[in-house]
């Protein structure tokens, strides 16, 4: 048992803060130096080791009208109470309340470097925005289910404070935070596979450990109508870069990319940073990765309007889908900036 109790700060909206209903949603921030509403339940659940030192209350509309400013205001109020743990909501399926709980938990976690927890119905629109920034415990739609969600929220909070491990999203009941970790199982993968295939043959129920994803359908752009007038650029995930690696690409899991003048890249010292393929053949002739030689001859013959002298290089090895999307968006913006109308993407 520690000498001092851990300091807990809670956040609720005007309704749970007992100020009023929708008619009071425009009310600004206030702080009570005690547990109000759901915070009283959290105090009970967290027990002797913790003390709810304050409850921050804010109207749903006040927060939603300027979320950034409101979050800043809320962080300041929380910081003044030096919390060890911050608990927001739970917000259930309430949209604006979800946004304020998510913003508060994310901002306080980031600014004060303390653990934060909230709770929401999985389809609350705030879930997708904030699930990576805080523990969002899954709740039912209605606030009458507070007594089901609160013990889960308090349990996670207490174990984080004690430095105890938190299990997987499914096991604990929170929404996945985009962290993948391994857990040792009773059976090795070989035995699990044999069990699974036998069940599948017999038509018995089984649980697949992964399922094929449903990727976004990308609608292809319209074809280039006149190649002789188009401004074309080259993009690749093949990772041929200058030796000094100015953009800090990594051999795998890289989130960075760079654009390099082709002639300077090839004339200078360069290498293939991608560690998922044998770069020997690209180094022998880099046109195998970026078909600049052919495209320049097209340009000279007037078959191609313009070839961007810069190539755009990423490293695709072990890249996550979300990181790739982000890289793609940034590269696309850079191409638009240069007035590029078409791009050829080569992969390895």
């Amino acid at each position: 048992m520690r000498d001092n109790k851990w300091r807990i700060v809670c956040y609720v909206n005007q309704f749970f803060g007992q100020i009023g209903g929708e008619e009071m949603a425009g009310v600004g921030f206030s702080v009570k130096d005690q547990a109000i509403g759901p915070a009283m339940l959290f105090q009970k659940l967290l027990g002797e080791e913790c003390e709810v030192v304050g409850t921050i209350i804010c109207g749903d509309n006040y927060f939603a009208e300027n979320t950034e400013a409101a979050a800043r205001e809320g962080v300041k109020l929380a910081a003044a109470m030096s919390p060890d743990l911050f608990i927001a909501g739970p917000a259930f399926n309430a949209g604006r309340y979800g946004i304020s709980c998510g913003n508060m938990a994310a901002a306080i976690g980031r600014e004060l470097q303390i653990p934060t927890i909230t709770g929401m119905y999985p389809e609350n629109p705030a879930v997708d925005i904030f699930r990576k920034d805080t523990y969002i415990v899954k709740t039912a739609i209605l606030s009458s289910q507070l007594r089901k969600a609160a013990p889960i929220m308090a349990g996670i909070g207490l174990r984080i404070l004690r430095g105890e491990p938190i299990g997987s999203a499914e096991q604990e009941g929170y929404i996945k935070r985009d962290i993948i970790l391994n857990e040792e199982q009773e059976l090795n993968a070989a035995d699990r596979a044999i069990e699974m295939v036998l069940k599948k043959i017999k038509g018995e129920p089984f649980k697949s450990e992964l399922l094929p994803p449903h990727f976004d359908e990308v609608k292809p752009a319209l074809p280039v109508s006149d190649l002789s007038r188009v401004r074309l650029a080259l993009v690749s995930d093949g990772g041929v870069i200058p030796e000094h690696n100015p953009d800090h690409l990594k051999p795998n899991g890289s989130t960075a990319w760079g654009k390099y003048n082709w002639d300077e890249l090839i004339a200078g010292k360069h290498f293939v940073i991608h560690s998922g393929y044998d770069g020997t053949w690209v180094l022998e002739n880099p046109n195998r990765l970026f078909p600049v030689d052919i495209l320049r001859s097209y340009e000279e013959q007037g078959k191609l309007g313009y070839l961007d002298p810069e190539v755009h290089v990423a490293c695709g090895n072990c890249a996550s889908v979300s990181a790739s999307k982000e890289k793609g968006e940034r590269i696309a913006l850079a191409l638009l900036d240069k007035g590029i109308q078409a791009a050829i993407l080569t992969s390895t």
Partner: protein, 434 residues
């Protein structure tokens, strides 16, 4: 084909005046192993150490772990690797020594990019089978520049020769256990299961060196082969590269083949093994997957299939394609795959996109990270060696070394810890969303 594996168990491993087995202790005379280095012109000598469970020891630059085994009857040892004589492996009696491993290190060349290591104590050791047995660690020392091909194959020969020698040293005592593996008699009324084993991908080979994995031969663009399961347990497939999340020890004790054999005739019928390699071109992948599915159905008459892969994304696409084609022919298929990164969620990171492959085992994410404390003893490299991450090595002809001193606190990953993640199902981990 019928293979009997007889087992002796050792309680301890120690250096001795000569190599012999007595009262549960296997004594190893270093000179006997050093003699193997004399047959390898690229090595000056070898550094040989013993480390035990619980030691504050980190072994780096690990390329393989081997179990001591030798042929007692039936075939020669490691045909095509230790001899130019060719025999088809997998018959007769093989002696296996349980309770130790031979760890092979590759310390002075960057020509392998998937560096392996493991600690004999601590967080990772608790879940690592190789940290639970004494290990004989062999590190070749060279004099100057050595061709990496000679180096790799030299390390493999020394490791396998040591394995044979140590197993032979136990022949003075009778085996404590023996198990016979055979699927010659088929039980077609039971669910018939086949195994599709992707042994190799050339995407990780450098300088056009093709790992000679099938009886000492390279098989870079091989089409599917049918091989007897006992062949694989007995020396047909041998690794010769950087660590890629499978060891010779795991192949010698191949968990899928051993378990299917044990249950053969009881609750399933083990129909056979198909060997494939990763296709690096789509055209090859289409052919391999369709050909594999056809062989599984028409030749092996499989109702069900387990498919395993080598390291990497392209390899996953290939096993997904095989499983997808097999499912189209009515063969229930379970691939074992991994997740290639850690900052995402399982809904989007499964690299198999065939929607009819809805029964998948996941043996973990590569990037479950560990921070490991400093150790007293470092093996497998010089005292001042760096702990190279998966990002280090010779990449595209360029040497990258960003690692921390290996003896100190290091950042490691699940994939880099030899013993934690096995492509062929030897390991216990599973990836979960957090």
């Amino acid at each position: 084909m019928q293979l009997t594996v007889e087992t002796v168990r050792i309680n301890d491993l120690q250096f001795g005046e000569r190599t012999y087995f007595d009262n549960g202790v296997l004594y190893v005379n270093k000179t006997d192993i050093l003699a193997f280095a004399e047959e390898e012109p690229c090595f000056d000598t070898l550094k040989i150490d013993i480390t035990r469970p619980g030691d504050s020891t980190r072994i780096i630059n690990v390329v393989d772990v081997v179990q001591p085994r030798c042929k007692v009857s039936g075939n020669i040892d490691w045909p095509g690797v230790l001899s130019d004589d060719y025999e088809i492996a997998g018959s007769g009696i093989t002696r296996a020594v349980e309770g130790m491993g031979i760890v092979l290190c590759q310390n002075n060349t960057y020509w392998s990019r998937k560096w392996g290591s493991f600690d004999m104590s601590g967080e990772c050791a608790e879940i690592n089978p190789y940290a639970k047995i004494p290990e004989l660690v062999i590190e070749p020392l060279t004099n100057g520049e050595v061709d990496f091909r000679d180096y790799r194959e030299g390390v493999r020969r020394i490791g396998y020769k040591t394995s044979v020698m140590l197993a032979k040293a136990t022949m003075t005592v009778a085996a404590v256990e023996s198990e016979t593996f055979s699927n010659e008699v088929q039980y077609p009324y039971l669910p018939s299961i086949a195994y599709s084993y992707q042994i190799y991908s050339k995407q990780y080979d450098t300088q056009n060196y093709r790992e000679p994995m099938v009886y000492g031969n390279a098989a870079p663009d091989s089409l599917p082969l049918i091989m007897q399961p006992t062949e694989i347990l007995d020396g047909a497939i041998s690794l010769c590269g950087g660590f890629r999340c499978v060891t010779t020890y795991e192949i010698q004790n191949h968990p899928i083949i051993v378990e299917l054999m044990r249950r053969h005739g009881k609750d399933l019928n083990f129909t056979g093994v198909l060997i494939t390699v990763t296709s690096v071109e789509a055209k090859h992948r289409y052919l391999v997957s369709k050909m594999a599915a056809g062989l599984l159905k028409e030749v092996l008459h499989a109702d069900g299939l387990i498919v395993t892969k080598g390291v990497g994304g392209a390899s996953t696409l290939c096993v997904g394609a095989i499983a997808g084609e097999a499912e189209k022919l009515g063969i229930k298929s379970v691939p074992i795959i991994q997740i290639l990164n850690g900052k995402s969620n399982l809904d989007v990171e499964c690299l198999i996109s065939e929607q009819n492959v809805d029964s998948i085992v996941c043996s973990g994410t590569y990037y479950h990270n560990f921070v490991l404390p400093p150790v007293e003893t470092l093996l497998g490299g010089p005292e001042d060696a760096l702990y190279l991450s998966g990002d280090d090595g010779v990449i595209g002809g360029h040497k990258i070394a960003t690692g921390e001193p290996a003896k100190g606190q290091v950042n490691s990953t699940y994939m880099k810890q030899v013993g934690l993640m096995s492509q062929i199902g030897f390991s216990y981990g599973m990836a979960l969303d957090y």
